[in-house]
Amino acid sequence: MSSASKNGALLSTEGLTAGYVPEVDILTDVDLRVNEGEIVTVIGPNGAGKSTLIKSIFGLVAPREGRVVLRGEDLTGLPPHSITRRGMSYVPQLDNVFQSLTVEENLEMGALESGRAKDRIRAIYEIFPRLGERHTQAAGTMSGGERQMLAMGRALMPEPSVLLLDEPSAGLAPAFVEAIFEKVNEINNAGVTIVMVEQNARRALGMSDRGYVLDLGSNRFEGPGRELLDDPKVAELYLGGTARLDIS
């Protein structure tokens, strides 16, 4: 198992078991492996433990067993703000902007060294020009899609090598869903490794290097994104039945 980190995985979980209530495990023995530069998507039915997985990777839920390893370093038990300092950022699904702060202040909150903040903010405005146009606006008055962009921009401020996204397209207007996925691709092309949990499984798997199917807290399938999409068993169980509704 520890071979995962030895043969070059950027991020891996080894036998991760976690939960919120004593004696009730939401995740059991989950092994995940993410290579540098990949987009990896975790799909699965509601209640499969997708969000719990991403939260325990980021230290928001303390694992009961197992380890989280980033670049060979054991992160298990570290508080989230220290994990951010080690090169991994996280975008929560809900409540992911500081509503009473302006766009620019939100971004500043993501900066680890205030000296570099100005340059980073300029770089983020290049990725998300809309944020630049609205830099003095209070984040609470922005639309859902703009907030998602701001949350991603904030997470990119410390120049992370891994970005964790919890359902980036949830609750967005259709026009924004596509825009967000395009941005995810763009960020990945700039060299950031992406791990995301998505409800919109087909769209997400379609753009992923690899995918994991989580069910009842364990990984059931694993493979390249397109292969999972074409796997009849995965399709039947997790992609809405055999009636294949390819969106492309």
Binding site: H81, T84, S89, F98, E108, M109, A138, G140, G144
Partner: protein, 373 residues
């Protein structure tokens, strides 16, 4: 003159009741900012109606503007009824009271916003500050300036001490809202009892000159009161600038907005919480000395100020530091204005009236953004 205020606020009550309950966790659907000002512009054939519609819209979107207009209306009504001199005189008195409220309220609101802790012991922090100043200024005979800094430092340390021994451990044990409130009430009694044990219940005063006064434009202001007003306004401005522009200030606001998100953004929230206690304690200590200098020192000093300070916190929007500063000043001035109409013994009631009225018509506070509590 309160009727004017009611008329300003009534339209927003009927058409858009303030959101009550929890706004968190629910993703607010893409909220396009409606631009009814434009719509009103179409009604060019009925210009006065359009004007009124436009004004109503502006007031609805900016309750702080509505509140300012109410304040100006009350001011004008008072000037007509009681004369300019008396109104200005009470306004000056209100500024020193307002500065005490504002400096007490800003720490209380930040602690609430960040830790969800309704700190009933905050009033006794003011008392503690006052007695610390007494110790240095009267017992040891040091100058008042030294006493002020000592009081601020000691009260900040007291805040840190309780965070380390009480609030931090309680949070780790996931204490509920009610447990925390009850503990803070207990702590308030404990603090007062300890203060009484050391200094007794007799009324004391700082070594300040409470007899000489200065006169300008026909207004009389006590020298001490003038110093309190100037120091208060300077500190309030400094606190406002610090919260607006400094990294620590922005981080405090970020924590107050969403503690978990602050932690996941990479902010060392534990450290910012400690700084918040230092900040809150030091300002409470200063407010306590200011209250002691303008009145006197007794064990109930802070507790009696606590309820108007709570009123300022709610008027400013719970957790909103800028709101608390502004609301504290407004409440102080309104309290002194009330003495023009009612016996001064009842002026404390103004805080309660404002508290109840604001909670009924706009629970998120006058200065608060359109954010639910």
């Amino acid at each position: 003159m309160y009727a004017d205020g009611a008329r300003f606020l009534a339209p927003r009550l009927r058409s858009k009741p303030p959101p009550v309950g929890t706004g968190r966790g629910v993703p607010e659907a893409p909220n396009e900012i409606d631009t009814p000002v434009m719509e009103a512009g179409h009604l060019t054939d009925a210009a006065p109606t359009a004007m009124r519609g436009r004004l109503e819209e502006r007031l609805r979107q900016s309750p702080a503007l509505a509140a300012s207009l109410i304040l100006i209306a009350i001011f004008i009504a008072l000037v007509i009824g009681e004369g300019l001199h008396d109104v200005l005189q009470t306004t000056v008195n209100g500024l020193s009271l307002g500065a005490i409220y504002a400096l007490g309220a800003v720490g209380l609101t930040l602690v609430y916003g960040i830790l969800k802790l309704t700190n009933f012991a905050h009033g006794d922090f003011l008392t503690f500050g006052a007695y610390m100043a007494y110790l240095v200024n009267v017992t040891w005979g040091a100058p008042l300036v030294v006493a002020v800094f000592w009081a601020m430092a000691a009260t900040a340390l007291l805040g840190l001490l309780f965070e380390r021994t009480l609030w931090g451990p309680m949070r780790r044990r996931r204490a509920g809202f009610l447990q925390l409130i009850l503990m803070s009430i207990g702590l308030a009694f404990l603090l007062r009892a300890v203060i009484q044990w050391f200094w007794g219940t007799e009324i004391r005063s700082l070594d300040v000159d409470n007899t000489s006064s200065v006169e300008f434009l026909g207004l009389r202001v006590g020298e001490t009161e003038l110093i309190v007003i100037v120091v208060g306004i300077v500190v309030i401005a400094a606190v406002g600038l610090m919260l607006r522009y400094s990294l620590l200030g922005k981080r405090m606001r970020a924590l107050s907005d969403d503690l978990d998100l602050a932690e996941t953004s990479g902010i060392d929230t534990k450290r910012v919480i400690l700084y918040t206690w230092i900040f809150s304690g030091a300002l409470a200590g200063l407010a306590g000395v200011m209250a002691a200098a303008t009145t006197n020192i007794r064990p109930e000093l802070g507790f009696e100020l606590l309820l108007p300070i709570f009123a300022a916190v709610i008027l400013g929007g719970i957790g909103d530091a800028f709101g608390a500063l502004a609301a504290g000043m407004v409440l102080g001035v309104m309290t002194e204005w009330s003495t023009l109409l009612i016996d001064a013994r009842w002026k404390v009631a103004v805080g309660f009236v404002v508290l109840v009225v604001v909670l009924i018509i706009r629970p998120q506070g006058i200065f608060g953004k359109a954010k639910a509590i």
